[in-house]
């Protein structure tokens, strides 16, 4: 089976390294120039306009997307806050048909300004530290939601405090806490507003139904729903815009879009050009090797039913050994009762002559005369001599002799009845 040795190509390339390097440089320069030109090409006015329009459109898409993302952030915050309020607010948990109410009623007696004193109490309840104190004591009552359930009003010198809760016990607890702290707060207010007397007129607890609570609750839930819908719409718009942007890019991106660094591109192309040159050389050498009619190896002669009596290769020497080859030839000579052998050489160079000399010397010891015919010497007389001797051994050189030459000699021998014992392959 024919074999191509890659190392043979590499050796051949190395032996002609100057030409190879020259070719690599040429290709590198050509490819480098192509790369540089490609990267450096100035877009025509029309292309520039196209690029401008394209970039403007992309920018618009990007701005829209940014706006939508900001809106989404705000909408999300709104949704989160409203959800938190809906989940945690006591007011929203009230049963509008059965609200637990605790009421406190106080009267203020004083010679000083009643209004100021009452306002002080109202301020303490609505804006003061009462709620924070309350939420510390009652952890189930978050501070931010107390304002909704504790209301107070004044009428003359009467202070009314109303506490709403869904739990009767909790409403009572809150009212008791309020009562205690109002008592304590009196001292503070007296220091500012002057002396007064505060009497608890009434403390009641009852349940009531209030449609306005239901309305407020529904309003809060509707707000939550609205915020969620807004968020969903914004998300959908964002997806649509992103898809529209992607579709626009796919269908409208101008060819002259990417103008890269010319030097970098040129270097990249040069490297590629060098590699391309080497690959091209290897391909050309491979194809020459495949297509040419030169003899490649002794196996091809064997496949054509021409016996190979011996072969010689550089670095390997004789394979089989010269002695083995000589023995085979002697056997042929004995069988045919010959004392003369024709070595029919297809080429004439030092290598062939060296091998022939080795055979001549070895066969001389056995009284077998070797007559050599080289291409330059062949004429009618030599041909007649070959016919008279009646035998020949073909000597072919790998890479130099072709199948056509071999075939010609085979046919010549067949035509004149010369027995071709086999061949010796050199190289």
């Amino acid at each position: 089976m024919k074999t191509i040795y890659f190392r043979d190509f590499v050796i051949r390339l190395w032996s002609r390294k100057k030409q190879v390097i020259a070719l690599v440089i040429v290709f590198s320069v050509i490819f480098g120039y192509i790369g540089y030109t490609k990267a450096n090409k100035t877009a025509s006015e029309e292309q520039l306009k196209e690029i401008e329009e394209y970039e403007a459109a992309i920018k618009e898409y990007d701005n829209l997307i940014l706006e939508l993302e900001d809106s989404i952030e705000i909408a999300q915050e709104q949704v989160d806050n409203q959800e938190k309020y809906c989940d945690n607010s006591i007011y929203l948990k009230l049963d509008a048909q059965n609200i637990q109410v605790a009421e406190l009623q106080y009267a203020i007696q004083t010679t000083n300004n009643v209004g100021f004193i009452l306002n002080s109490f109202v301020a303490y309840i609505n804006e003061g530290s009462l709620r924070s104190q309350l939420s510390k004591v009652y952890l189930a009552v978050p501070e931010e939601y107390l304002k909704e359930i504790i209301t107070c009003s004044t009428n003359g010198n009467i202070l009314n405090i109303t506490i709403m809760h869904y739990d009767k016990e909790e409403a009572l607890k809150i009212s008791q806490f309020l009562a205690e702290n109002l008592e304590k707060q009196q001292t503070q207010i007296k220091q500012i507003q002057g002396e007064f007397e505060m009497k608890k007129l009434d403390e009641v607890q009852y349940s009531k139904a209030d449609i306005s609570v239901l309305n407020t609750q529904n309003q809060a839930l509707n707000n939550l729903r609205t915020y969620k819908n807004t968020l969903s719409d914004l998300n959908k718009k964002l997806i649509d815009q992103k898809n529209a942007r992607k579709y626009y890019i796919e269908n409208n991106e101008p060819e002259a879009m990417e103008l890269e660094n010319p030097i970098k591109e040129a270097i990249k192309f040069m490297i590629f050009g060098g590699i391309f040159a080497i690959v091209l050389l290897l391909v050309v050498m491979s194809l020459r090797n495949i297509i040419s009619g030169d003899l490649k190896a002794k196996e091809e002669l064997l496949a054509a039913n021409i016996a190979v009596l011996g072969s010689w290769k550089e670095r390997v020497g004789y394979a089989p050994l010269l002695e083995q080859s000589i023995m085979d030839i002697r056997i042929f000579a004995d069988l045919n009762q010959c004392t003369k052998i024709i070595m029919n050489c297809l080429s004439d160079d030092e290598l062939i002559r060296k091998v022939i000399e080795d055979y001549k010397k070895s066969l001389k010891e056995y009284n077998i005369e070797v007559l050599c015919y080289f291409p330059s010497e062949k004429n009618m007389e030599l041909l007649k001599q070959m016919i008279d001797v009646g035998n020949c051994i073909l000597v072919a050189e790998v890479g130099k002799n072709t199948y056509t030459q071999i075939e010609e000699q085979v046919q010549l021998c067949e035509k004149f009845g010369v027995s071709m014992w086999g061949s010796i392959v050199v190289g």
Partner: protein, 398 residues
């Protein structure tokens, strides 16, 4: 001296038939393989390659080749069919394929395969390198549902890249058939894995795997179980089956395609596994009339670009048998099958060749490269000289 004698002398002395063919093949193949890459060379180069190749082949066939009467008649018939296909359908691929087929007379098949391997392998390597370096585009297709990226490595589509690798692998295995060892098989499996990971071409990778497995089995079974094989005539049955592998594959694909029905759960799943090849094939068979010499069939595939396709307009028949039938006609499909059966009969004693044709038949059920010489050169065996290691003085018979 008469003119005829002078011409004979010129052709005999100055032209070598085999060299002419191989040079023509090299030129044509270079153009065709580059045409499957993203180098996007000008169209004139491909036309030039074809014209040069045709010129050289014409020189060979008209000036050097000798035909017996029956061979001459067969060639006339084949060329007539190719010309009619070109006239009726407008496609010249069949004509080029046929010219190379008939001009391969007395050209060593091994040399044809070696030229194919050398050129295709080199161009694929160049394309891969160029795509990885950014010289040309590496088309990457994202499969979101599977979280995968399919690379095409400088070729127009990932499956086309995988097809190149498949046919290169087949060619290499066939050329090295007498010298294969475990190293080659392990390398083939490694290539299968790499192609699967980076291209995700399940069906082509399966064919590659079967190629490695098939060659390994043939290698492993040499000289084993001889008495059992003789008793049950295993070898004979193997050869018989593989000789007709392509007609069998054609029949299977036509049957499945015609019978395809999305309401049938088995066929539906099979179609999904084959990536809609049955559905698209059926559309082609029922949308286009039966034609003896082919017709123009517009196909809109995914190659050359990663733009999201308009799936409403997507139509590409990947099965070679249906593809060739639709575009090149019923007569050409039959010719194709006869050509491959004839090749198998010619190489009846070469199990590796039979296996190779069987693998090609399998691959052509899912790929459309049957008559593209840039992928598949094996049909050229019909008129080419048998390989050098059969006991014939092939290169002497000139």
């Amino acid at each position: 001296m008469k003119l005829k004698e002078k011409i004979d002398i010129i052709f005999y002395n100055y032209f070598d038939a085999e060299k002419l063919y191989l040079i023509a093949f090299s030129i044509y193949l270079t153009g065709e393989v580059f045409g499957t890459t993203m180098f996007l060379l000008p169209g004139k180069i491909f036309v030039l390659c074809k014209l040069l190749a045709i010129g050289l082949l014409a020189l060979k066939m008209l000036g050097i080749d000798q035909f017996k009467v029956h061979q001459y008649l067969v060639i006339c018939f084949l060329m007539a069919d190719a010309v009619l296909v070109a006239l009726f359908s407008g496609y010249t691929e069949v004509l080029m394929w046929m010219i190379f087929l008939v001009a391969a007379k007395e050209v060593s098949f091994d040399k044809i395969l070696k030229v194919y391997f050398t050129i295709t392998f080199s161009i694929i390597v160049i394309a891969m390198l160029a795509s990885l370096m950014g010289i040309i585009v590496n088309l990457q297709y994202v499969m979101y549902e599977k979280g995968r990226i399919r690379n095409s490595f400088g070729i127009v589509y990932p499956t086309d890249f995988a097809s190149h690798i498949f046919y290169l692998m087949l060619t290499f295995l066939y050329l090295k058939r007498k010298q294969l060892s475990n190293v080659y098989y392990i390398s083939c499996i490694a290539i299968c894995i790499m192609v699967y990971l980076y291209c995700y071409t399940r069906l082509d990778v399966s064919c590659m795997f079967f190629a490695a497995l098939g060659y390994w089995i043939l290698d492993w079974s040499k000289g084993k179980y001889t008495s059992l094989r003789k008793k049950y005539l295993i070898d004979r049955e193997f050869k018989r089956f593989f000789v007709y592998s392509m007609p069998i594959a054609t029949a299977i694909m036509f049957t499945l395609t015609i019978l395809y029905n999305p309401n049938n759960i088995i066929l539906l799943n099979l179609d999904r596994w084959l990536s809609s090849r049955l559905d698209l094939g059926k559309r082609g068979l029922f949308d286009y009339p039966i034609k003896l010499f082919g017709q123009y069939v517009y196909m809109n595939g995914n190659g050359f670009s990663t733009k999201t396709p308009n799936w409403d307009k997507y139509f590409f028949v990947d099965c070679s048998y249906i593809y060739n039938y639709l575009r090149y006609g019923l007569v050409f499909l039959l010719v194709l099958l006869i050509v491959y059966v004839a090749c198998c009969k010619k190489y009846y004693d070469d199990k590796y060749f039979l296996l190779t044709v069987a693998l090609i038949s399998l691959n052509c059920m899912i790929a459309h490269h049957l008559i593209e010489l840039a992928y598949n050169p094996f049909a050229l065996a019909l008129f080419a000289k048998c390989s050098i290691d059969t006991p014939k003085r092939c290169f002497l018979s000139g």
